[in-house]
Amino acid sequence: MSRKIRVKMGEYRIGQDDNVLSALGIGSCVAVCLYDDTTGIGGLAHIMLPDDSAQPEKAAPTLVMGLIQDMEAVDAVPGAMTAKLFGGASLLSTSMEIGKENVAAVTHLLSDQGIPVIAEDTGGDTGRSIWLNCRTGDVVVQKPFGPTERY
């Protein structure tokens, strides 16, 4: 398995050890990072739409549940998972609310699954690129203007 794994819109991937999962240039999309620090298994879902009415395979329910199942399949423990959320910004004038809707949908799904959100950098009006370090569960966030931050 390659060390760096890029997760594109509408995809989810899992990793561990020295894998770094990334989502680059997220706008209204939301990147959900799940991490089980008992097994060191991490996962990232790059969500484009809040509900599965139009394109279920790009939407929060399919992607979040798919990610949790994939992590469980390699022995991650749902009760040990924590979540970090990034993205959900508003750029241009066309889709003001979709970012917020994505964040709300994901928050709701995680709460239903009993997975706590322990860090979050969502909303605003700029993009983000994020990298999840599967060895530590840390997430590095870069915005177009300004320093990188660690969550």
Partner: protein, 206 residues
């Protein structure tokens, strides 16, 4: 899946050639500088691949985006096309300078520079649409352009959002403009919401 016949592909190539040629001529006229245009690329792309073909999802670009409403003259058929003029920040600054004839301080674009770049988007769009309507009998109405400087992927999230509910992939035209080695701009457009059927069906009848 969008599949093109050889005939459709040939005509679309020709259209994109004429459109890109017209557009670069118009841009040259406005700035007094030669705008060179690369051989247009035409193909079918998955949505998630589009930011990378425009310069990389995480790179900061200035993007002018413009929607075009496509209507049948004699029916209620409607579709849409999105046009994007995408360039790195330095190119944006230089192109704005060429358009306004004034050199402004600061890395960020001011309102005058932004509206000059929107105008460049308008000109390119108008010329491309004119090229298409020479081949197909459709009414094309340009809407007001918007401009944003941010990570390309982040801008495209919002552009592609409207498309994502109906499409997995798009028919994409792409070309690159250069102006005296200081401006590099990608010009991209794609059809949505049934617009490619409206256009392709008409090409088949030619």
């Amino acid at each position: 899946m969008i599949e093109l016949t050889d005939e459709q592909r040939d005509i679309l190539r020709e259209i994109s050639h004429v459109g890109a040629g017209n557009a670069s001529e118009a841009l040259s006229e406005m700035t007094g500088k030669t705008a060179e245009v690369a051989f247009p690329w035409l193909g079918v792309k998955e949505l998630q691949e589009i930011p990378d073909m425009m310069g990389g999802a995480q790179n900061v670009f200035t993007v002018v985006s413009l929607d075009v409403r496509i209507e049948e003259f004699d029916g209620d058929g409607q579709g849409r096309s999105t046009l994007l003029l995408s360039m790195d920040r330095e190119s944006a600054k230089v192109l704005a300078e060429e358009m306004t004839g004034e050199s402004m301080d600061g890395e960020e674009l001011n309102d005058m520079e932004k509206s000059a770049l929107k105008e460049a988007g308008n000109i390119l769009a108008g010329n491309c649409m004119a090229a298409i309507t020479e081949y197909v009998d459709l009414n094309m109405v340009e809407e007001t352009p918007e401009i944003e400087t941010d990570m390309l992927g982040a801008i495209m999230d919002n552009v592609l959002l409207d498309v994502a509910t109906e499409h997995e992939e798009l028919l994409v035209f792409k070309t690159k403009f250069s102006m005296h080695e200081k401006v590099d701009a990608y010009f991209i457009f794609f059809f949505e919401d049934g617009a490619h059927h409206m256009v392709l069906d008409r090409l088949a009848h030619e």
